[in-house]
């Protein structure tokens, strides 16, 4: 807090303004530094947890790094897990940009996966250059459709999207469970769909670039990067993106300026849902080639951490997705080699969200270091 000095109102205003400008400058620097500092602190918290559980953090983390980057196979696994996270991260961050918290990306992902599995089975006879875009488009639509009712409820009556998208998440999971147990169930004991025809599968990177050896990474990662570029372009250069940002920044001002907050809200949440749907599509088309109950390991929720860590920047999303992808790829190795439960990465993830959300912690720490009187 600034020391309150007695002065004329004009002087006080001026001092306040200068203080505000200075604060803004510091704030911008902190905004850039926060994600990095948060990751470091979260890893430290993680090592504390590992230590308390009676294991060696150094051993655990080196196993984790080995499991994530130790060779082409490991790097492939990191990229494989980063791929859906790019899409869910973009989904959540697009929502955030428009002032919406799409906490239900997981459900939209399930619907996207469902559409990919269903359409993928129908278009197997077409050449891949035709079938793949059709499937991807269908998954986008399915994810968008699943966000539509929450979007409508938010826009028309103000029902909080956190509750509605979350509820739709559960409804979507049960719907998928019904479909793989009923209409789309393949022969056999396991409730799942039949395998997608080759034309509906995303090729592996190792098929195109043989020098990377055997690994499971697929071209979904390239699609993710393209999606990030498109989202960046939409937000920066299109009217729709401008409107979304304006509504996210100040809905009242946007409305006054002639932007329809209701229709922007609907559009933005549906686009967010569509992007999450794509995450489901890449998992079905690139990893499992079929749909089953557990085809997503919480990518929708990790997408929240990705978006927050990336500060909603589409390129930041790619980096954050790769970070979380590497944590997830390395966690298995860590559990095998160091005996540490891989759930520790969820703790790290939660800590990162906590720290990025509470920017004040970093602000406060920086202020202490700079020797300023509180910011």
């Amino acid at each position: 807090m600034p020391e309150a000095k007695i002065g004329t109102p004009a002087e006080e205003l001026d001092a306040e303004r200068r203080f505000a400008l200075e604060q803004q400058r510091v704030k911008r620097a902190i905004t850039i530094a926060t994600p990095f500092i948060s990751v470091v602190i979260a890893m430290l918290v993680g090592s504390l947890v590992i230590l308390i559980s009676g294991h060696s953090p150094a051993e655990a983390y080196s196993a984790m790094i080995g499991g994530a980057f130790g060779g082409w196979r490991q790097i492939g696994e990191t990229l494989l897990r980063a791929t859906p996270l790019i899409f869910t991260g973009l989904a959540v961050s697009y929502g955030f940009r428009a002032g919406l918290f799409n906490i239900g990306a997981e459900g939209q992902l399930f619907l996207g996966g469902l559409a990919a599995a269903f359409v993928g089975l129908q278009v197997g006879g077409l050449p891949p250059l035709v079938s793949l875009p059709i499937i991807i488009f269908a998954a986008f639509l399915a994810g968008a459709a699943w966000a539509f009712i929450p979007a409508l409820m938010k826009a028309k009556i103000g029902a909080h999207e956190v509750i509605t998208t979350m509820m739709f998440s559960y409804i979507g999971k049960y719907l998928v469970s019904y479909i793989i147990n009923g209409p789309l169930r393949a022969e056999g004991n396991i409730p799942q769909t039949t395998e997608l025809p080759i034309a509906s599968q995303l090729p592996r990177i190792s098929d195109l670039l043989p020098f990377v050896g055997q690994n499971r990474a697929h071209i979904g990662i390239v699609l993710g990067i393209i999606a990030a570029l498109i989202v960046w372009w939409v937000l920066k250069y299109t009217v729709m993106g401008y409107e979304a940002r304006a509504v996210g920044f100040n809905p009242a001002a946007a409305e006054t300026a002639g932007i329809s907050v209701a229709s922007t809200t609907i559009k933005s949440l549906c686009i967010s849902g569509g992007l999450a749907g794509l995450a489901g599509a890449v998992e079905v088309m690139g990893v499992h080639y079929r749909l089953f109950d557990q085809f997503s390991s919480g990518f929708g929720f990790t997408g929240i951490a990705v978006a927050l860590l990336a500060k909603n920047n589409p390129f930041g999303v790619i980096l954050a997705a790769i970070l979380f992808g590497s944590l997830s790829a390395g966690a298995g190795t860590m559990q095998l080699e160091a005996g540490v439960s891989q759930k520790v990465i969820t703790i790290i993830q939660g800590t990162i969200i906590f720290l990025v959300g509470a920017e004040m912690i970093v602000t406060w720490a920086v202020a202490r270091v700079r020797g300023r009187k509180g910011v």
Partner: protein, 314 residues
Amino acid sequence: MFAEIVTPELFASAVRLATPIALAAVGASICERSGVTNIAMEGLMLVSAFAGVAVTLLVGNVWVGVFAAIVASVVFASLHAWSSINLRSDQIISATAVNILALGITGFLMETIFGHPGTTDPVKTIPPMYSVPADAGPVWTWIGTVFFSYTPIVYLGMFLAVFLTWALYRTRWGLRLRALGEHPRAADTVGVNVLRGRWYAVLISGAMSGLAGANLTLEQVGSFTENMTNGRGFIALAANIFGRWTPGGAYLASLLFGFADALQLKLQLFSDTINIPSQFFLMLPYVLTVVVLAGVVGKAVAPAAIGKPYKEKG
């Protein structure tokens, strides 16, 4: 079939299933009336459900387990309070962090303590305070089952709903609390400590979610399974809105969700005759939440200052 479905047990099961939602929802009404949203209840219930089981197994006394559940939840609630009240971070994000931390920590401790993921060893659940004798007449079977067959925390929940309604509307504390959520600046001006008042509200909500978690594992299920809360914390938030941010209303709204859950469980038993896949029954509580929100939001008015961090003038 109607007589087989509509039994005293159906209503008793509705009350039982409503209880964790209701406890959290009543806590939410206090918390939100102070101007702090709390979507962390999902995580708070999860840590308390786990702490309850783990401590009961460790100590051998279920009441120590209940106490541990409340403490665990309050500790996590204070993270949310610190972040959203003192650090003025986005309340939704700070609560999301708590939810994910809760998921991670319970999963981690589960594997570290019990050596495997999934479900813990069972504990002996707290018995109901009264059971209707098998030879009771139909009238007493109905009355006894519907009103007297519950475990202690269920009754505690009913009491707290009434007590907190009284406290919110008939005490100085309640008046101040409501002022914090409507116009914190005005409350501050007349000498109410906004930050402290909000802290207490979040901690009360934490304690209530702790009771909810304890009820879930120590009175109902008898063991902990990862992510077993299954959205109940979010449903509780919807119940709080449906109950128009009043403890009593939140409790009654929760009964509706409990009834939906009890009914779907019952109907699943008749899936041969009804011939609807079980997944559609399982969806019912979530669909109901959406429908209820669609019907009620816009008509119910949220506390004016909800979700807005308060900065004291220094």
